[in-house]
Symmetry: C2
Subunit: 203 residues, 2 copies
């Protein structure tokens, strides 16, 4: 396989995670989504919830930093006063690089595209869809009303864009930040996964 | 074929035009690039050069407007003082819609994606590549030096973005403005064309 590591960034509600799961299944390679969060939480000593939520916003949580006393167990290299979010990012970088070293896989989110940018075996994918498609998926998945779903989708995307901007020198959602961008609303999740597999296999 | 009309927008130097030509060849459908410019020039009475250049910049050419006396032959519907660029856009819209009505085809540039947005049989593609890849292609094609090539690429992209912004309610180069975005520098022109054909055929 030409592109053995597939990173997937996605708009909230686009079904990017589900597409990633199908790609991993079809290519028979490991899929890192929730597993990655568990690994980062375990290695950093931070809560699962914190690790999960921090990729959805651009600013550090001051309250959490104070609560954690600015320290993360097991991170000897970092100063005592380094913000928790920065420490978590260092652990995340280490974990993602270790995962990539192990061999072909699919990694969802966590700026993995940027963290692995020195590698030449990555296929960096961005999945998006029209707002209405995403709102309907969020309503179906979480059972919230349309107004709330609209608000959630827009807030999450804003947070992801800010987080991406903060930790990379690229722009989230701009075509040239990725090798391949697909509209999952246009293609459908199955066809989106098929096209990514085709691009990864290289013909 | 699921997506019978393929519109291709592209960064300058990305090889998007060549990719479009290959897609049309592989799918055995008409290819509109230079042909489209000729048709618009003929129908509007404007010069080939003006029609060609106007898609590369965001603002109207005042001097050309004055030179043309604000009139375009054959455009009864528009007022005498309508800017030439606007008149040309009306003709271009008409020509592109007529082309699409004829059947499957590939159309390069000219905001065809936006002009045909009411149709449900379009596949809107954006082709981009890293700056260095594009500069090297421009040097090879036009025999200009690296500094000049850099300047040309950046100026052309800026103009195309401004033109797209002026005539559509979408942003040029943002993933969500298109169904499919591909990095031709990463995939190579042949593989980029293959992936577009695969997406158009729908599996």
């Amino acid at each position: 396989m030409k592109n053995s590591i597939i990173t997937i960034s996605r708009q909230y509600g686009s079904g990017g995670r589900e597409v990633g799961r199908r790609v991993a299944q079809q290519l028979d390679i490991p899929f890192y989504d929730r597993e990655l969060i568990v690994m980062v939480a375990k290695e950093s000593g931070l809560s699962l919830e914190y690790v999960e939520e921090t990729a959805e916003r651009g600013t550090n949580s001051l309250l959490y930093n104070i609560a954690m006393g600015g320290q993360v167990p097991g991170l000897q290299m970092s100063g005592q006063y380094m913000p928790v979010a920065e420490k978590m990012y260092i652990v995340q970088t280490k974990v993602i690089r270790e995962i990539a070293e192990k061999g072909p896989c699919v990694i969802v989110g966590r700026t993995a595209d940027y963290i692995l940018k020195e590698r030449d075996d990555c296929l960096n994918v961005f999945i998006h869809a029209e707002l209405d498609f995403r709102v309907q998926r969020v309503i179906a998945e979480y059972g919230i009303d349309e107004k709330e779903a609209h608000k959630t989708v827009q807030k999450k995307d804003k947070g992801r864009a800010a987080h991406y901007r903060q930790y990379t020198d690229q722009e989230w959602g701009i075509a040239q930040s990725y090798h391949l961008c697909l509209d999952s609303g246009h293609f459908g999740l199955e066809e989106t996964a098929r096209l990514i597999c085709s691009a990864a296999r290289g013909g």
